[in-house]
Symmetry: C2
Subunit: 112 residues, 2 copies
């Protein structure tokens, strides 16, 4: 559709928000809380790989830490292309959610 899917958008935003802590399991936790719904591991790792392959994300592998089970992590950060894709999806959302007539169904979106 020439626009990020919802999951892709949420993952890119998660990487943005988590900054120096943006790696697979952390992203999964963050999004599970956001969605109030436990995501499977694959639900995060599969799109992460795709987003990287398409140039929306860059990644590098860390050294292991000395915590229990502290393996090497694969960290991600947004590329310029990734920011551009978020920009685009944000524009579409703004358009799509503006100018909605009153339906009398008890709710209207509020853009803080």
């Amino acid at each position: 559709m020439d626009i990020l899917s919802r999951m892709e958008e949420l993952i890119l935003l998660s990487v943005w928000k988590l900054q120096e802590e943006a790696y697979g399991l952390q992203i999964r936790t963050h999004l599970s809380e956001l969605l109030n719904h436990e995501l499977s591991v694959g639900a995060v790792y599969v799109p992460l790989k795709r987003l990287k392959k398409r140039g929306y994300l860059a990644s590098w592998d860390s050294e292991p830490t000395d915590e229990r089970g502290g393996r090497s992590k694969r960290f991600f950060k947004l590329t310029e292309k990734g920011v551009g894709a978020l920009q685009q999806v944000h524009n579409v959302q703004q358009s799509a959610w503006s100018g909605l007539p009153d339906l009398g169904l008890g709710w209207k979106p509020v853009h803080s």
Copy 2:
């Protein structure tokens, strides 16, 4: 994912915005302009049918009009469940797009 897909969201919003003119081809035109990208016919009709089956949309068939080719149209409107689903996706978006740190990449989302 327990949340509307992007296409589902856009179609529900289109039905909302188009009001008394919410039928397949019109929705297609509206979304094609919004996305700046010509959607195929199936890209609209397939999800429309699914959204109806799931109770997000109600529909009824009009009488033909006396315009050239003016066949009976299938009009749609949001159900309460449909409004609720939009409400939910709106909440998730608001959360996901708020509290983003400055990346110094030349852009930050503005919520009008």
